[in-house]
């Protein structure tokens, strides 16, 4: 077996560049390689944008049903977005620590999973040096990840004191850790 291994000092920068919370798109390459996962999203068209939605219902087993940012809209309980909500996050370390400001829940329900997704954010053509492929819109997905949500002590990826989400109540994400590997073995 062969191994690729990053130096200890390489890891934090590697995570920082991939999450890119304070960074613009990388204009030296195109999509999706150039767009960060936690895109800054200033609320306009100057950057891609990222959302974290706490969801109810059955957790997907793959991404085949998550075709754009409006997928499973009826199951979205709480949605956080970059540009306003992710300022408490620490993305220059590995594991990165995702934290948000308080946001009011938009719908009631039992939280079962969460979805982080990055979108093109409503422009076509060339922006920040990246030229959008034909046919994309502001709901077209660039990057996604999903994980489980559950009660504290459940072992879910995101643990919530009370999974019974109440519409209008304020919620925040606190210390969701994303660990990125820095060593790989392969045949």
């Amino acid at each position: 077996m062969a191994t690729i291994d990053m130096s200890p000092a390489f890891g934090p920068g590697y995570v920082t560049r991939m999450l890119g919370y304070t960074l613009a798109a990388n204009s030296s390459v195109g999509y999706p390689a150039g767009a960060p996962m936690l895109a800054p999203g200033d609320g306009g068209t100057a950057n891609q944008k990222t959302y974290l939605s706490v969801m109810k219902g059955t957790i997907p087993i793959d991404f085949s049903t998550l075709v754009n940012s409006t997928s499973r809209s009826a199951d979205k309980l709480i949605t956080f977005s970059t540009g306003t909500d992710f300022s408490p996050s620490a993305t220059t370390v590995n594991p990165a620590i995702i934290s948000t400001n308080y946001v009011a829940a938009g719908a009631p329900g039992i939280a079962t999973w969460f979805w982080i997704y990055t979108v093109y954010n409503g422009y076509t053509g060339s922006l920040n040096g990246l030229t959008s492929p034909a046919g994309v819109s502001d709901t077209t997905l660039l990057h996604q990840l999903i994980g489980t949500a559950g009660a504290v002590g459940s072992g879910a990826d995101l643990e919530i004191p009370d999974t019974n989400i109440v519409a209008g109540n304020a919620y925040r994400i606190l210390n969701l850790r994303l660990q990125f590997p820095t060593t790989w073995t392969f045949a």
Binding site: A2, T3, I4, D5, M6, S7, P8, A9, F10, G13, Y14, V15, R17, M18, G20, N26, S28, V29, G30, Y31, P32, A33, G34, A35, P36, M37, I59, D62, F63, T131, L141, L142, H143, Q144, L145, I146, G147, T148, A156, D157, L178, F180, T183, F186, A187
Partner: protein, 158 residues
């Protein structure tokens, strides 16, 4: 459940994670013989791995890597190749350091680590799984020039 990432993460790792660390500018590649250590071991004890070490076989400068097809591939590769370079010592290359900078001979000789930013991986001939590969074999003879055949780092998903 393990957090599930969309396969686009591969493009992100190659483009923003690895290449943007320094490989899109002229960078150095050092070839070693012997058993590949960990990157942490190199960072912690560079004097054991500097150019005075018998396993330090050759150093190539000026490699530039890129992400083909405007970042739509799931691999990056060397697109500007270093010049043919005489080997420093004799031996069989088995692993390499990809520096995010372009270290000089003096830096490689020093007891100070040339750069804290680097990736290590296997070296092989063109039929092997090296991230840096050489035609026919990875045999180096002191004073005899060799050229890099290709260099590729790919990302797969399950």
């Amino acid at each position: 459940m393990t957090i599930l990432f969309h396969s686009n993460i591969r493009h992100l790792m190659i483009g923003r994670g690895i290449l943007a660390g320094g490989l899109t500018s002229a960078s150095g590649i050092t070839i070693y013989s012997g058993i590949q250590p960990t990157a942490a071991a190199i960072a912690a004890d560079w004097p054991t791995y500097n150019s005075t070490n018998a396993k330090f076989l050759a150093h190539f400068t000026g490699a530039v890597w890129s992400h083909p097809l405007s970042g739509t591939t799931t691999f990056c590769s060397i697109t500007t190749f270093p010049a043919a370079t005489p080997a420093d010592k004799t031996g069989t290359g088995s692993w390499c350091i990809l520096w995010m900078t372009n270290p000089t001979g003096a830096q490689l000789l020093s007891s100070t680590l040339p750069s804290t930013q680097f990736i290590i991986g296997p070296v092989s001939n063109l039929t092997g799984n090296g991230i840096v590969r050489f035609a026919t074999n990875t045999d180096f003879v002191a004073g005899v020039s060799r050229t890099i055949g290709d260099g590729t780092i790919g990302a797969t998903s399950t």
